[in-house]
């Protein structure tokens, strides 16, 4: 009899522990999903920083496009620079790198269609005109990327709250079923 009670007590404690684990695990899954949406913001934030560097190296120091792209830390720009080293223009190098950069695990896989459209517009004209025109092009791209980055941050904040809450609630439901 005492053995049966002991088994029943053990079983309840195990169930409670399991329920806590389920709630925690589910909440963490929600957090992970939210982090994935934050990745777009991080890529755009890095891009905006590198566009500033690119502008200084191109229109301030008058370095050729390839050198200026290489001096930026962003992997996306480094890929375009690699293409230019083979004798292509920035537009050609971007078109060649675009596909592989967008693949899963590539430097642009988190970017949305609007982000890629901004990059298409930038690289199609990069280096092809005088200093003032390039200054204007880089300024306009910076503005667009900055706007997209702010939008991505807002979306990431909303997704953060949504996915974490959703994860917690799902975990709670599962915990109740387990108990």
């Amino acid at each position: 009899m005492a053995q049966t009670t002991g088994r029943g007590g053990d079983s309840l404690e195990t169930r409670i522990a399991l329920a806590v684990c389920v709630v925690l695990g589910s909440t963490l899954c929600g957090k992970a999903a939210a982090d994935a949406t934050r990745r777009r913001y991080r890529v755009l934030a890095m891009l905006a920083e590198d566009l500033q560097t690119l502008r200084i190296h191109m229109t301030g120091m008058l370095q050729p496009v390839q050198c200026a792209l290489e001096s930026a830390g962003c992997p996306l720009m480094k890929r375009v620079a690699e293409g230019m080293r083979e004798g292509h223009s920035a537009a050609e190098a971007w078109q060649a790198a675009r596909g592989s950069a967008m693949r899963r695990g590539g430097p642009a896989d988190a970017l949305a269609a609007d982000d890629l459209a901004a990059l298409d517009a930038l690289f199609s004209q990069l280096g092809q005109s005088g200093r003032e025109e390039q200054e204007a092009l880089l300024g306009a791209t910076l503005e667009t990327v900055g706007r997209l980055r702010d939008g991505a941050l807002k979306k990431a904040g909303e997704a953060d709250r949504l996915y974490v809450s959703l994860g917690f609630l799902v975990g709670l439901m599962l915990a109740l079923i387990v108990i």
Binding site: L62, Q63, P64, S89, G130
Partner: protein, 299 residues
């Protein structure tokens, strides 16, 4: 990669083959929108490609030569040329807009690629006038019409004087003498040579005199309003000048006011005229200083 190799890779197949046929003899390549490609050689002849060069192709070639970085060449383009990594100069012609000093190149219709070719020893004929047996170095001005090898000879003078033990300063406004990349010469200009690259000659000379104390100053294509003053100052500081200028003779040089002030101002000790073939020294004149009058005696 040299200018010729780059052009071979960029030109249409038939024009590239024409370029390859003439090989190292090519001195200039002229590209004109809607016209055949013209190849000039050091033998004095020129050949035309069978097919014309389309305007889009000309734009593509020039864009590639500018490393797809037009903005970085804008100032040079506005002056009518840009210089390649190997020191070759690309002259451009086309539509200019603006007024006086603020003109701007907005469309290129033709270009002339002047191929830079370092020729070690090409200055042997002129060196005895710069470093005569008495051991005192003399300032010399090289004169010639375009295409007679002034720049190539100046580069070799700098190399030989520098390797011979003198500290040489090159005022390389157009990047042709030393073909610097990020401030470092890519052509052999000697072991003891410093290069001020991309800076107006008068400024470069003044800065080098102040900062680098060169024994010899080398400057290409002098004749600007400020050049004579900077050169005179360098001579007063004890430097020897080796410079070049466009003129088909001493009389023609004296007819150019800015060059006249160099010649009459006691800045150079001798004048050498190059031509009629590239690198050939046609004649040398030594300065004879009279009472307030400068006369030139042919050697």
């Amino acid at each position: 990669m040299g200018a010729l190799d780059r052009l071979k890779a960029l030109l249409p197949e038939e024009a590239a083959a024409l370029l390859a046929r003439h090989g190292a003899a090519v001195t200039q390549v002229r590209l004109r929108a809607g016209r055949p490609v013209q190849v000039e050689t050091d033998r004095g002849g020129s050949a035309l490609s069978a097919a014309s060069l389309e305007q889009a192709a000309l734009g593509g070639i020039l864009s590639a030569l500018m490393e797809y970085s037009v903005y970085a060449r804008q100032e040079e383009l506005d002056r009518g040329y840009f210089t390649l990594d190997d020191g070759s100069r690309v002259g451009v012609c086309g539509r200019m807009v603006g007024e006086d000093a603020r003109v701007r190149m907005t469309g290129i219709g033709s270009a002339c690629v002047r191929v830079a070719r370092p020729l070690a020893g090409c200055a042997d004929g002129i060196l005895p006038f710069i470093l005569p047996p008495d051991g005192r170095a003399r300032s010399v001005l090289l004169l010639s019409p375009p295409g007679m090898g002034k720049t190539t000879m100046l580069r070799d003078v700098a190399r030989q004087l520098s390797d011979g033990g003198l500290c040489v300063g090159i005022a390389d406004e157009r990047h042709e003498l030393a073909a610097c990349h990020m401030g470092v010469p890519t052509l052999d200009v000697g072991l003891r040579t410093d290069v001020m690259d991309g800076c107006p000659k008068a400024l470069a000379i003044a800065r080098m005199i102040r900062g680098m104390s060169p024994q010899v100053i080398v400057a290409d294509e002098i004749g600007g309003a400020d050049d004579a003053g900077a050169l005179a100052d360098a001579v007063r500081c004890g430097a020897v000048i080796v410079a070049s200028a466009h003129a088909h003779g001493l009389a023609a040089a004296l007819a150019r006011p800015n060059l006249r002030s160099v010649l009459d101002g006691g800045i150079v000790d001798a004048v050498a005229l190059l031509g009629p073939r590239p690198g050939l020294v046609q004649g040398v004149w030594h300065r004879q200083q009279g009472e307030g009058v400068t006369a030139w005696r042919r050697a």
